[in-house]
């Protein structure tokens, strides 16, 4: 059966954008082989209401598993049900390489004893195998990885592919958990969500990032001001800044933080250390503002302004506001 399973990641009763990206990637694989896409949607009772959205991106079937034990992410029970489902005959399974997908996919792969191409930025079919591109050595080298055997598992880096509408009326199928989800040993006892309305770094088209050049926690209001002038921007930071507690670690971009690929990345008072650049290399356009003309960030910035952030950023914020008002 050349069908492809897509794991539809949800949080607090809503689908995440990465769920649609996974369905889109699964659609590509299924179309290459003439199979169906089966999205698996797991959540607390009520999650079934989200099933139709997955049809919009190309799911032929949505397998819904509702249980109170899935109100929070339940890694053991979710891995168990996915492994059982995949055992019934699928060619491939697609996850997001989100924090949750990266936790889940290797569990499923090990349960089934099959290959997993982790954190890939594209995926294609080559005969019986799946072939994908995976950044290695902090993105300085691209590896082409090949997963043979069936089912072949992949996890796709968030935002690496664009969720593409492929609307259809998905058939909804209800399924049971594999075992009692309440019996899982690993329990998420609390989920602390970031402020309402804050855009996640992985989903933002524009990221304004601040470094030690801002001098203090309070001065990050400059970065926030520029971000809000763009309307759809998220705030990022360097490790120097998260280490000092000026910003939460969740905003750290780089080798040991998040990897992002926005349309526009604005680096404010950031030197451009290799570990920071590792996280933003795939941004479409990079802007840097730094008072040191020799700062390494200028070597990869499409547009650099040499200057004091306290002078340049307010002017830029004002100009962006104007431009958006007139545009």
């Amino acid at each position: 059966m050349p069908n492809v399973l897509a794991f539809a990641e949800a949080r607090s009763g809503s689908l995440r954008k990465v769920a649609f990206e996974a369905v889109t990637a699964a659609r590509q694989i299924a179309d290459a082989r003439g199979g169906e896409v089966h999205a698996v949607l797991v959540g607390a009772p009520g999650i079934a209401a989200r099933a139709a959205e997955l049809g919009q991106y190309g799911a032929d079937v949505v397998v819904v598993v509702e249980h109170a034990g899935f109100a929070q992410y339940n890694p053991e029970a979710t891995a168990a049900l996915l492994a059982e489902r995949l055992g019934s005959g699928y060619d491939a399974a697609v996850f997001s390489a989100s924090a949750q997908g990266k936790d889940l996919a290797p569990r499923v792969a090990a349960k089934l004893g099959v290959g997993l191409a982790s954190d890939v930025v594209d995926v294609r079919v080559d005969g019986d195998a799946l072939v994908a591109t995976h950044p290695v050595n902090i993105g300085k080298v691209m590896a082409t990885v090949r997963v043979a055997g069936s089912p072949a598992l992949v996890s796709i880096r968030p935002a690496a592919i664009t969720a593409a509408p492929a609307p259809r009326e998905a058939r909804v199928e209800t399924a049971q958990p594999s075992g009692d989800p309440g019996a899982s040993r690993v329990k998420v006892v609390e989920l602390r969500e970031g402020g309402k309305g804050t855009l996640d770094l992985g989903e933002a088209q524009v990221i304004v990032s601040g470094g030690r050049g801002l001098k203090s926690k309070e001065n990050f209001s400059l970065v926030e001001g520029l971000a809000s002038a763009f309307g759809n921007a998220a705030v990022g930071a360097t490790r120097a800044v998260t280490d000092d507690g000026w910003r939460p670690h969740t905003e750290q971009i780089g080798q040991t933080g998040r990897t992002v690929s926005p349309n526009l990345y604005i680096a404010v008072g950031i030197s451009g250390a290799i570990q920071h650049l590792a996280g933003l290399r795939t941004s479409k356009t990079i802007v840097a503002i730094n008072k040191d003309k020799d700062a390494p960030i200028f070597r990869i910035a499409d547009y650099g302004i040499v200057g004091d952030v306290f002078e340049v950023v307010p002017a830029l914020t004002e100009a962006v506001r104007e431009a958006r008002k007139n545009g």
């Binding site: 290959g115 524009v206 479409k284």
Partner: protein, 250 residues
């Protein structure tokens, strides 16, 4: 507390990498190597847990050729007690193969905790820890940023995109370590001397069948060289113009 920590030898990421003649790996000539950063935080976590418990044993494990002994020595000089090298000709890319070798070694060892880094800087799969947990049938929490263990129960925090999760789990367990849990200690001179005397047990790695192979490695397309468009606030109008007309992002 009986703890195992898995450490990987990885190249220094500051280097300019070159693709080896086989087209599927990195040319190692001239590269410097060290312990994967996340793994050094895992070693530190193990040592702190042992110190807090007042007793216990920390075993360090690495899969690879003899060169990984240098990485193992570092963990020993930080304070690990025992060491095992699971020998292979080269470190495989396939995370599942590594996971199989590690779980074969750890199975039945009676460990309270098995610690991993969140991911390795070179192959960057972020899979080995959770795979070992499955193979050993142990509970697993990945990418933790805080850890508290009381009476055989652990509590850890992990970061998601735009949220944090608090997770509880029973011991024995497998944990993978994110940045922020601790600062790794530097080996002391005394530690380095002591490590020289500690034996490293060597065994062949039981990798099993390969499930994922690298068929090519390439350098990513170069970004166009950076361009400075001006100085100070006076350059802002030009920047806005370029963002609108050239980059079309505004």
């Amino acid at each position: 507390m009986k703890i195992a920590v898995c450490v990987k030898r990885v190249p220094d990421m500051e280097a300019r990498f070159k693709i080896a003649a086989d087209g599927t790996s990195i040319d190692e000539t001239g590269l410097k190597f060290d312990m994967n950063d996340f793994d050094s935080w895992a070693v530190e976590a193990a040592l702190q847990l042992k110190e807090k418990a007042g007793q216990g044993e920390v075993t360090v494990l690495s899969v690879g050729p003899d060169a990984v002994q240098e990485t193992i020595r570092k963990a020993l000089s930080m304070g690990a007690d025992r060491a095992v090298q699971l020998k292979t000709d080269r470190i495989p890319f396939d995370g599942f193969a590594i996971a199989r070798a590690i779980s074969a070694e750890l199975s039945g060892g009676g460990y309270d905790l098995v610690l991993f880094g969140k991911q390795s800087a070179d192959s960057s799969n972020g899979v080995v820890g959770a795979m070992v947990a499955e193979l050993l049938g142990l509970p697993c929490v990945t990418a933790i940023r805080s850890l508290d263990i009381q009476n055989g129960t652990g509590r850890a925090e992990r970061s998601l995109e735009g949220a944090d999760e608090v997770v509880e789990f029973p011991l024995p367990a497998v944990l993978t370590i994110d940045e922020g849990l601790n600062q790794a200690r530097y080996p002391s001179l005394k530690g380095i001397m002591a490590a020289k005397k500690k034996p490293i047990e060597q065994k062949p790695a039981q990798l099993g069948d390969v499930t994922v192979t690298v068929s090519a490695m390439e350098m990513p397309p170069e970004r166009a060289a950076g361009r400075i468009i001006g100085e100070g606030a006076g350059a802002v109008p030009e920047l806005v113009r370029l963002l609108q007309t050239e980059a079309k992002v505004l």
